[in-house]
């Protein structure tokens, strides 16, 4: 197992700079998720750590040693690809043992390791098959197995679940989590699915346009997103954003929405009177109240079973509210909404940075 450190990493393809000054350190045994929108440089960063691509400038350290010039083999990393990249002409056993054979391990040791991985991942019946004879989930498992048999210093995953259907993805997600609890190898997991990141990772690193926007524990990011980008990226359904103006009244600070509706916000926010804001409301933090709340009209009702997503019109904008699935609400009905002042996220309209302090 290794610790990983990235220092001042830059990567350009020609004139196009894809990775811009990434600094990151990952502890031994930590599971870090790299998330971000498509094209933000997640795969590129992973390939640089793996040794498949070179950095333009900056250093990669494994266990405190600079490994910039080392091959993936010397770095002792294992990688699971989005396409799985199982060798099509090899059986599952041959796929699993390919690396071990190249490392000239004794045959008995190879057999033992393959058997161990097959047991962990329940591949026993599939060992003689070719990848083309496997289902998507089985291929995924073989790809995981191929990484595990090597007992690498570092696991790298590049969107390993994105080729699976929704149900299988959830199942494999918990299998990965269980596996990680067993093997406890330092892992970097790339995904653009923030739920995967939230459920699996010890720490989430949010990338945007080649830069780190924020990193932290999953729930910390959820509760204290540093800016609008992170706030919008983490959480599902996504946070609602509304333009507002800060007002410092004698009843404490409030946010005035476009239609003059006023929303109480927590004291302690670093705001001045008249400052243009964007406020963020988590769909699950908005509650329906019988009266005394902010009036809104229901535009759309989306039942999902346990929960129902309401699209309501608030200050002329579409706002999503998550309510209990048991509540019956008709389209076009009027509701009253309330949100606790300390749950209102406040961002500067220009810098998009967070303005309010801690709450949770």
């Amino acid at each position: 197992m290794s610790s990983v450190e990235l220092v001042g990493l830059h990567k350009s393809f020609g004139a196009h700079e894809v990775i811009k000054d990434i600094n990151l350190s990952i502890d031994e045994g930590e599971f870090v998720a790299l998330v971000g929108p498509s094209g933000c440089g997640k795969s590129t960063l992973l390939r640089i750590i793996a040794g498949l691509d070179e950095t333009t400038t900056g250093d990669i350290l494994l266990d405190g040693e600079i490994v910039n010039d080392e091959t993936p083999r010397e770095r002792n990393v294992a990688m699971v690809f989005q396409s799985y990249a199982l060798y099509p002409h090899m059986t599952v056993t041959e796929n699993l043992s390919f690396n071990l054979k190249l490392s000239r391990l004794p045959a008995a040791e190879i057999m033992a390791r393959v058997a161990e991985a097959a047991r962990l991942l329940e591949l026993g019946d599939l060992l003689k098959r070719k990848p083309s004879q496997l289902s998507g989930g089985q291929r995924q498992r073989v790809a995981m197995g191929r990484a595990i048999v090597r007992k690498p210093a570092l696991f790298l995953f590049d969107e390993p679940l994105s080729n699976l259907d929704a149900k299988l993805r959830v199942q494999m997600r918990s299998e990965i989590k269980a596996l990680q609890d067993k093997v406890r190898t330092t892992s970097i997991y790339v995904t653009h699915d923030q739920i995967e990141a939230m459920t699996l990772a010890d720490r989430i690193v949010v990338l945007n346009k080649g830069r780190i926007e924020q990193q932290g524990k999953p729930l910390d990011l959820h509760r204290r997103a540093a800016n609008i980008f992170v706030a919008g990226f983490i959480g599902s359904p996504a946070m609602n954003f509304l333009p507002a103006t800060a007002r410092l009244s004698d009843r404490g600070p409030v946010a005035e929405l476009a239609d003059r509706t006023v929303l109480q916000i927590a004291t302690g926010a670093r705001i001045r009177d008249g400052q243009p804001l964007r406020i963020g409301l988590r769909p699950e933090h908005l509650a329906l109240v019988p009266d005394g709340g902010i009036p809104a009209r229901v535009r759309q009702v989306e039942p999902t079973g346990a929960q129902t997503h309401l699209h309501v019109a608030l200050a002329g904008l579409d706002v999503v509210v998550v309510v209990d699935g048991g509540i019956e609400i008709a389209k076009a009905s009027s509701v009253q909404l309330r949100i606790a002042p300390e749950l209102v996220h406040i961002f500067d309209a220009e810098t998009e940075a967070r303005l309010n302090g801690d709450h949770g």
Partner: protein, 307 residues
């Protein structure tokens, strides 16, 4: 319809007997034009030539005698030139299987990179493949010309004049010289086929192999070669088939000579039929060639139709 309850009215079209017969015939009507051409211009001539191969006939007169399998037994047991030709074809095929194919693979590997100029090189190497072999043969005959040919001039110029000679008139050098011409004209096709094969290999396999610790040679052995399996089948089958069809180059460059050392089945068939007026014997040789190709091509055809 037992056991199936259909509620409501299912509209049913009723058809007259004549209409039904027409529907049955329809597919055949559609393929009829192609079938007529196929039967008239392929199957019929083939049957005629098979019949001819059992005859002693000069190919022109109305008189012929049925001799059964005599042409075939003559070919196998009483014709030294046929033996030479068969030997040359086998040798040629072995050469065609190895030399232009491995050169083509090598060039494909070199040119399968994003480098400036690769497109130009691909075009240049493939260019001979679009020339008719007759022109290729003529061009190279001039180059091999003992007196003013480019090859001898070049040898003299670099001081290797003692190597210069009559390439195509030498008993030892004639066949290799023609074969070199063949290689020049035929590396393009395997190169293009291998290039297509290489480009179809998912780059993730290479990345995965690198992460698995495979060096360049191991990546070639475990990713590239298996990935080119389809291309191998096509390239090698085409080489075998081509090896028994050789005609143009020999005809234009050596005319089967000197003596008869460069005769191949294709030219010998031509000589027998059109020079010596042994149409029956020529037809028999044609069927020998066809049978060999068919036997060798069956794995290829089966492979292709399986896909």
């Amino acid at each position: 319809m037992q056991g199936i309850q259909v509620s409501g009215q299912v509209p049913r079209r009723t058809r007259s007997k004549g209409q039904r017969r027409l529907t049955k015939l329809q597919p055949y009507l559609f393929i009829a034009p192609a079938m007529i051409f196929y039967l008239g211009f392929l199957v019929y001539p083939m049957l005629v030539s098979l019949w001819t191969s059992f005859l002693d006939w000069d190919g022109l007169s109305a008189n012929y005698t049925f001799v059964g399998l005599k042409n075939y037994t003559d070919f196998l047991f009483h014709d030294d030139v046929a033996q030479t030709a068969l030997y040359n074809n086998v040798l040629w095929t072995l050469g065609a299987l190895t030399i232009p194919t491995s050169l083509g693979l090598l060039m494909a590997l070199i040119l399968n990179r994003r480098m400036p100029g690769t497109l130009a090189f691909r075009t240049i190497i493939y260019a001979p493949a679009v020339l008719p072999l007759v022109s290729v043969g003529l061009i190279w005959s001039w180059m091999y010309n003992p007196n003013f040919g480019a090859i001898n001039l070049f040898l003299h110029w670099v001081g290797l004049g003692n190597l210069a000679g009559g390439w195509l008139s030498s008993f030892d050098m004639a066949m290799p010289s023609v074969f070199i011409t063949y290689v020049w004209g035929s590396v393009g096709l395997p190169m293009i086929l291998y290039l297509a094969g290489l480009q179809a290999i998912n780059g993730d396999y290479y990345d995965s192999a690198r992460v698995d610790g495979a060096n360049a040679v191991q990546r070639f052995r475990h990713v590239t070669l298996p990935g080119l399996r389809e291309s191998h089948v096509i390239v090698l089958s085409l080489a075998v088939i081509g090896g028994f069809k050789v005609f143009d180059l020999i005809y234009t460059m050596t005319y089967g000579g000197p003596g008869r050392v460069t005769q191949v089945l294709g030219t010998w068939m031509y000589f027998q039929t059109f020079q010596y007026y042994h149409a029956g014997y020529g037809a028999a040789i044609a069927w020998v060639i066809a049978s060999i190709i068919l036997v060798l091509a069956i794995p290829y055809i089966r492979h292709m139709s399986k896909e």
